[in-house]
């Protein structure tokens, strides 16, 4: 009788819980190997990895986010949006890259996040990163010049109205 792991085609892999545990190891080689295998497994491993993305240890959160970004699934939208507010700079950067990689699926969620947190410096920076990348690839059309306003670190004016107009415009297109 085939195990669940074999049914998923994972017979050559270690178990997902073990790989997830290895992802928290102090041994870099072990972490790298676990990450590669988890990325290869893909979506079935996400529940385990997402849990690690909320770990107290920033090194664990970093490894989890790297793996999540490399898997690249829209199921990770929420964890990536949460990670935009991480206290650790590299994790915030990684979350923004991950959202950018999700392309059109990230546009409405990032605008919604911005609308709900218009005063958050981290969310403003992360949104700028994502929307700027998506504009470069033509996925996001910045009709209301939101990116310019987000790029000004000293601009603390309320952006809610602009975000709302942008969000309405994007929703109308899609």
């Amino acid at each position: 009788m085939r195990t669940a792991q074999e049914s998923l085609g994972l017979s050559s892999f270690q178990s997902i819980p073990q790989l997830t545990k290895d992802l928290t190891s102090k041994n870099f080689i072990l972490r790298k190997k676990a990450r590669q295998e988890l990325v290869e497994i893909g979506k079935p491993s996400l529940d385990f990895i997402i849990e690690l993305a909320y770990n107290d240890d920033e090194n664990v959160r970093w490894e989890a986010l790297v793996t999540i970004v490399q898997i690249g699934s829209i199921e990770t939208l929420d964890v990536l949006l949460d990670a935009l507010e991480d206290e650790e700079f590299s994790i915030r950067w990684l979350a923004a890259e991950g959202l950018s990689n999700l392309g059109k699926y990230a546009v409405v969620p990032i605008l919604q996040k911005l609308l709900n947190n218009p005063g958050s410096v981290f969310i403003r920076r992360g949104s700028h990163h994502v929307l700027h990348e998506l504009r470069k690839t033509g996925i996001f059309k910045d009709d209301y010049e939101l990116i310019d306003q987000l790029s000004d670190e000293f601009d603390h004016s309320d952006i809610s109205l602009k975000v709302k107009h942008t969000l309405d415009s994007v929703k109308n297109i899609s």
Binding site: F28, K32, R35, W62, V66, F89, S90, W93, E97
Partner: protein, 77 residues
Amino acid sequence: MLYSNLSVTQIPTSLNVIGVEKADAGEIQIAIRYFTESIEINPEDPRAYFNRATLRMKLGDIKGAREDFKNAEKFSQ
């Protein structure tokens, strides 16, 4: 020497600029060399660390990228 007409304080900025141009042109390894040289001249320039970090991520050098991100944050404060 290529940068002999520049003052010491200008050199890291110029190396950064060239590095970014190389990266934009897809010459990632060469770009990394420019950023590394910039860091060697000014080890407290957060821009060079940040730029090198993003390229190291592209190349899959996750550990190196993390170290660079850490330094970028450290020296930008």
